[in-house]
């Protein structure tokens, strides 16, 4: 099957490569040149919009930046634009890096607008900076120096090579750790940061990769059109065609944007040749709009994913998916060894402290207050989590338990007060920094990257960051083995290759736990680990947490199942209405009259929200 697919794709690539030899018809050459430009741009767009989830309406701007940069440099230095085309790519990548900085604050629809504004802004700058760019007069590129017999071949093959490079780059990114991190960002950016994915770096690299080949293609394209003007080089219609191509073909796939480029350019050309007169432009817009609507309604994932789904279904027939069975009473595998105690500059400072530190309290929260509008969710909370303890955090719904987790892991900035890990204040650190410093947490409603497989979800967690690691296989080597080991450990080994989005609530909880263990934090915050978990598995979970605790991990556990949590914990803290109600030994706390009244007793206390 794989060989057949390779043969078909190889044949098509070869066919397109040989077109200039078969036919001297420059009309066909020109059409394919335009297709290549759209294909390279759509493929670049796909890295930003398809893999990372940042939809850009201004990708045509990179064509302009690349084209003008190469044109101006070629004129200054009196060399062929082909020679300086790579510099056009560099310029485009730098602009993309700046755009990437905008994503620190903007996501979703706001980013779409920012990307469009970038296109307009760069167009305006080019138009008004006439001393350098030729302004509205346009900028004349040098005439091609090669023999007329070769027609447009150099443009044709340069752009064709760029299409192949784009495909190669997309394949490489998708297979790498970088690609895994990008897809994690697409599915849930905050969660990705929480398991140690250094999101700003990943996004910066993705944005530059997304623009660099487009810039080079822009340089070649500028040479080809011979007169650079703002209208052709910062073209909003081209930017739209690019988005359309990627969506029609299949967002996030390797070949989808390429297929989409061929379809969109053909359709565009068809309307150019068959429709005449003043209305042609308007009719074309209607056709494109209609196409986009049809794709969104009928094939929301695009042509290629829909086709491969169909093929898959046809080949597999009615296969059964793995389903939950009672767990055999097999002995628990040994707790995974603590990784990263000797490696990594970022973990070094705290990981070393697990063995010999002066502070007895691993996590210390002091006078922590959190206000949302008029609601005080936490009111001067002070508590300490002893190193190596299992601390139970209990209290009624709405008492602020999850909010406390959010304050400790950096989800929300605190109103006042401080959080310290192993004596080091972490209140000012971002989420990624806290993850690398040794804070890991699970969620009450487990958050997984739904489009990724179970093993990819676990492998996405990363306790340290090294640029050189990004090129490694997404799930490979020792990490793949460790991810598999952890999945076996939580009883989800059979689901390695299942899509996380298809799992049930309880299963998602278990995968999230494995993900957390992959990160291997010093303190593990679990938000209702036993909720929705079958009693048999709950018993196994108890054994699992004990084993991990014996191997040196510290736990803070929010849980309503008193039997479960009090049998585990050696320390308990009770929250009620955002304040600490009791703090001490589990036995004492659970018989405290105030706790009975607030938490276990009869009256329905009206807590704050949640």
């Amino acid at each position: 099957m794989k060989a057949a697919r390779g043969a078909v794709l190889g044949g098509m690539v070869l066919l397109v490569a040989l077109v200039p030899l078969f036919t001297p018809d420059t009309y066909i050459h020109n059409l394919l040149i335009l297709t290549f430009v759209v294909a390279v741009t759509a493929s670049g767009w796909n890295i930003m919009g398809g893999l990372t989830g940042y939809v850009s309406l201004g990708h045509g701007a990179f064509i302009g930046v690349g084209g003008y940069t190469a044109g101006i440099l070629a004129q200054r230095w009196d060399v062929s634009p082909f020679l300086v085309a790579p510099l056009g790519g560099v310029a485009a990548a730098l602009v993309a890096l700046l755009l990437g900085l905008a994503t620190r604050k903007t996501r979703g629809a706001a980013f779409v607008i920012v990307s469009y504004a970038m296109l307009e802004l760069l167009g305006q700058v080019t138009r008004n900076w006439s001393g350098v760019t030729g302004g509205s007069q346009g900028f004349l590129m040098p005439l091609p120096s090669w023999d007329i017999r070769f027609q447009n071949w150099p443009f044709y093959y340069a752009l064709f090579a760029l299409v192949l490079l784009s495909i190669g780059m997309t394949v490489a990114i998708r297979r790498s750790k970088l690609g895994l991190g990008l897809m994690a960002i697409r599915d849930d950016e905050d969660k990705a940061a929480g398991i140690g994915v250094r999101t700003p770096v990943y996004k910066s690299i993705a944005f530059m990769a997304s623009a660099v080949l487009v810039g080079v293609a822009g340089a070649v394209y500028g040479y080809y059109v011979s007169t650079l003007s703002v209208g052709t080089m910062f073209d909003v219609v081209l930017s739209m065609q690019v988005v359309l191509a990627a969506l029609v073909g299949g967002r996030g796939t390797v070949w989808g944007p390429i297929l989409g480029a061929f379809l969109v350019v053909s359709l565009s050309e068809l309307t150019n040749t068959t429709l005449g007169g003043a209305d042609a432009g308007a009719i074309r817009l209607i056709l494109f709009g209609g196409l986009l609507l049809a794709v969104v309604l009928l094939l929301p994932k695009g042509i290629l994913p829909a086709a491969s789904n169909l093929l898959e279904r046809w080949r597999r027939g009615s296969a059964a998916s793995p389903t939950g069975a009672r767990l055999e009473d097999t002995p628990l595998p040994p707790a995974p060894a603590r990784a990263g105690t000797t490696t990594g500059p970022s973990t070094g400072s705290t990981a070393g402290s697990t063995t010999g530190s002066t502070t007895a309290d691993l996590l210390r929260v002091t006078d922590l207050t959190m206000r949302f509008g008029g609601v005080t969710a936490l009111d001067t909370v002070t508590l300490a989590v002893p190193r190596g303890s299992i601390t139970a955090l209990i209290g009624p719904n709405g008492s602020g338990k999850t909010t406390l987790f959010n304050a400790v892991d950096g989800t929300y900035p605190v109103t006042s007060g401080s959080v310290a890990l192993a004596g080091r204040p972490i209140t000012r650190l971002g989420r990624v920094q806290r993850a690398h410093a040794g804070v890991g947490r699970s969620y009450q409603l487990p958050r997984l990257f739904d489009s990724l497989t179970v093993v990819e979800n676990v492998a996405a967690a990363t306790g340290e960051f090294r640029l050189t690691n990004l090129v490694l296989g997404a799930v490979s080597g020792a990490e793949a083995a460790r991810a598999t080991e952890l999945l076996e450990f939580v009883g989800m080994g059979a689901y390695r290759q299942a899509r996380a989005g298809d799992l049930s609530y309880g299963q998602r909880k278990l995968v999230e736990l494995a993900q957390l263990l992959m990160l291997d934090p010093d303190v593990i915050l679990l938000d209702e680990p036993a909720a929705g978990i079958n009693p048999t598995l709950r018993r196994r979970l108890t054994a699992l947490i004990r084993a991990l605790n014996d191997s040196g991990r510290t736990f803070v556990i929010i849980e309503h199942d008193m039997h479960f949590v009090l049998s585990l914990a050696d320390h308990a803290v009770v929250l009620a209405r955002g304040a600490v109600l009791a703090d001490g030994k589990p036995g004492d706390v659970s018989t405290d009259p105030a706790v009975l009244e607030a938490y276990l007793g009869e009256d329905l206390a009206v807590g704050a929200d949640k």
């Binding site: 939950g324 009624p396 309880g506 018993r539 938490y599 807590g607």
Partner: protein, 251 residues
Amino acid sequence: MIRLESVYAGYGGGDVLQGVDLAVRPGSITCVVGPNGAGKSTVLRTISGLLRPRAGQIRLGDQHLNGRSPAAVIAAGVVQVPQQDGLFGQLTVRDNMLLGGYLIRRDKARLRRRMAELAETFPIIAERARDKAADLSGGQRRIVEFARALMTEPRLVLLDEPTLGLDPKTCQTVFETTRAIHALGATVLMVEQNVRFGLKLATDGVVMERGRVLLAEPAEELLARPDIAAMFFGSSAGAGTATGGPDAPGH
């Protein structure tokens, strides 16, 4: 009441339900238990129309339910209470209740009568009618949610892990509210991982495993069988308080 015959269904990665046969007695509280991923929630989703079965029959009385839209299933008299907080927080309790009666929205008299009837069983929906749902406590929201499901006078109410994430006091409320729904004449089909809690509440118990029904018995008998308890409930029957429910410390 409702009968499933060799139902197959899944989410794209293959079938999760692999030939489910299940019959729910009219007037029962039937509780489905089993390992994580056994297909318990999937059974509820295929009944309520959120998931289309690939093969098999789902019959409510003499009506066929397979392949019907969720709205058609509600119209047929089956309502599902979502697993997690499903109230519209920014709307008032009254508006949330009215949305529960969306299908009968043109029949103003019936809506008003039904609200009044439900307020007798669940006084909170009258007392807090003008308050935003977000201002209620977790337990109160759960009561309103249950009451809302009853607006269209369903014959069958589906509960997907009704105690998930709730503190012990609120679990007690859910226990009582489920009894109240039952007392109002509805049949209840529920999924619960809090096995002891679920089976104490239920009249009938169903054990699922690997996408099939393994066993269906009166709940009491199921609870009393030590072999089943050891296999599925995580402890021998004597181990007592495995739940955070009504038999947690303090009760």
